[in-house]
């Protein structure tokens, strides 16, 4: 990240998917360790903005700076290294069906080439933390929606990412689990992880006040400082 204290900076960014312009004129900046709610009605473009921040797409227009890199100017070969520093909780989890909960969570560590001993220890600890120690060797098909979501969360944070993105991460969680997740996110934020959470859950937003990015039809209608 270098000297830059700003982890995410967008200037007049637009995103086109096919012929449709799903995001337009987005400008925002999030400092290191910042926490942002990403709010807006269904179809507003929350998932699209997270896809952009996860480098699943490049901006069609405008300038995007992520973790100190100008994404428009970065060669394609530079992106994997950046992605390893970004954790993502997908709305649809995207767990690999042929792998156990353990191996799904271990994926980012193994990709980074961590020694297997460390992988065993870290993944075990993480699964215990999200309350899935007993389900370590279950495959996603054997897990409930909430359990799958917690595996997805564990996979996103196992690597201590600099930027954590979460798309409706409480959609399948009960109240207690949602509270636990918020505690985890707060702790990560305090340790310096920049966090963006897209959600519909007004209760949890009210209970955890934080600056919000509000989207409507692909535009940023308000951004708290």
């Amino acid at each position: 990240m270098g000297m830059s204290a700003v982890v995410v900076r967008l200037e007049a960014v637009a995103l086109e998917v096919g012929a449709q312009r799903v995001l337009r004129d987005i400008s925002l900046a999030i400092p290191r360790g910042g926490f942002r709610w990403l709010l807006g009605p269904s179809g507003a473009g929350k998932t699209s903005l997270l896809r952009l921040l996860h480098l699943e797409a490049r901006p069609s227009e405008g300038r995007m700076e992520l973790l100190g890199r100008d994404i428009g100017a970065a060669p394609r070969a530079a992106l994997p290294q950046l992605r390893r520093r970004i954790g993502m909780v997908f709305q649809d989890f995207r767990l690999l069906p042929h792998l156990s909960a353990f191996d799904n969570v271990a994926l980012p560590l193994r990709l980074a080439g961590r020694p297997e001993g460390q992988v065993q220890a870290d993944v075990g600890e993480m699964l215990a933390w999200v309350g899935l120690r007993a389900r370590t060797h279950c495959h996603p098909a054997e897990l409930s929606g909430g359990e799958q979501q917690r595996v997805a969360i564990a996979r996103a944070v196992i690597n201590r990412p600099d930027l954590l993105l979460a798309d409706e991460p409480t959609g399948n969680l009960d109240d207690t689990q949602a509270q636990r997740l918020m505690l985890l996110l707060r702790e990560l934020s305090r340790l310096g992880t920049t966090i963006v959470v897209a959600t519909h859950n007004d209760v949890i937003v009210a209970r955890h006040p934080a600056p919000a990015l509000r989207l409507a039809t692909g535009r940023l209608v308000s951004a708290d400082a």
Binding site: R83, R94, L99, D103
Partner: protein
């Protein structure tokens, strides 16, 4: 019932997980592909054909060498009444014929046989001493140059200088056999190239099928920060292994066939073959070529999978 089953399944899963996992685990589920199971058999079929083609190429090369350089390749030219004067130069007919042959670009080597050699040549036909007092023709042994102008061109000149000169026509035969051998050789190499092309296509198709089948997993791993090289390496490692095994299987399957062919060809090729031998008697070059086939298959598997996967990933951001 179901509980017991589930419990057993969980225990097995736990056992699997306790084993120390290799660093390069099967994250992409490559071991579960249908296309992958078919690949070794398709490659084996290609390697089988490649073995036959290679044997054909090497055998044809051997025949061709035998006929062009062996004793059978020597031509003979008979000059009757050799010491009479030539019609077109102040030389004897024999000297004139030899001079004309030496001056011809199509001829590599010219040698007039001695009287004793001629007698030896004729002995089986006429018996010893039978040639005494016969007016024997002179015999000139000639070796043609590869690719030079045909001897036919100079025949007319020889006849004009020394009427009655006979050019033994088996030069035409060696030429035809050489052409045939060359054609077989060219055909065999073409077949080898074709088989390699088909093997490449087979690996490419299997790899693409594998990518499509695991599309979600590949995209996820890409999103987690896997490089194109990381992903390509996993597919390529598997394709290399399967192609090698397929190549080995194809060559092993071809050995008995090659042994049989070698035994059948032995009398023609001038070799000896023992059809009861456990390992067929094959030329050394063929053994080396056969050993190379699985390696070449592995190389094709590796390179094709690498290129295919990287091309598939390139459109991704």
């Amino acid at each position: 019932m179901r509980d017991v089953e589930a419990q057993r399944e969980r225990a097995a899963a736990a056992r699997r997980a306790r084993r120390l996992r290799p660093a390069r685990s099967d994250d992409l589920g490559l071991r579960r592909g249908v296309a992958g199971k078919l690949l070794p058999f398709l490659v084996a079929a290609m390697a089988f054909l490649a073995s036959l083609a290679l044997a054909g190429a090497i055998a044809a090369a051997g025949f061709s060498r035998e006929w062009q350089q062996g004793p059978a390749a020597a031509l003979t030219i008979q000059v009757p009444d050799p010491s009479a004067k030539a019609t077109d130069a102040p030389q004897s007919r024999l000297d004139r014929v030899v001079a004309l042959l030496r001056g011809s670009p199509g001829i590599a080597h010219v040698r007039a046989l001695s009287h004793a050699e001629i007698q030896k040549l004729l002995q089986p036909w006429l018996g010893s001493g039978a040639t005494d007092g016969l007016a024997l023709p002179a015999v000139v042994a000639v070796r043609e140059r590869d690719g030079g102008p045909a001897l036919g061109v100079i025949t007319a000149e020889l006849r004009a200088a020394a009427p009655g000169t006979l050019v033994d026509s088996h030069g035409d035969w060696t030429r035809r056999i050489a052409t045939l051998a060359h054609s077989i050789q060219a055909l065999a190499w073409a077949m080898l190239a074709l088989v390699m092309g088909v093997a490449t296509a087979v690996v490419a198709i299997a790899t693409r099928a594998g990518l499509v089948q695991r599309r979600d997993a590949v995209l996820l791993v890409h999103g987690l920060g896997a490089t194109d090289g990381d992903i390509a390496r996993r597919f390529a490692a598997r394709a290399t292994r399967l192609a090698f095994l397929g190549g080995l299987g194809g060559v092993v399957a071809a050995l008995p066939v090659l042994g049989l062919l070698a035994a059948l060809a032995a009398p023609i090729a001038g070799g000896i073959a023992d059809p009861t031998a456990w390992m067929p008697t094959l030329p050394r070059g063929l053994w080396l070529g056969l050993a190379a086939i699985p390696v070449v298959c592995a190389g094709i598997g590796f390179a094709t999978a690498q290129v295919t996967v990287r091309a598939w990933l390139r459109p991704l951001p």
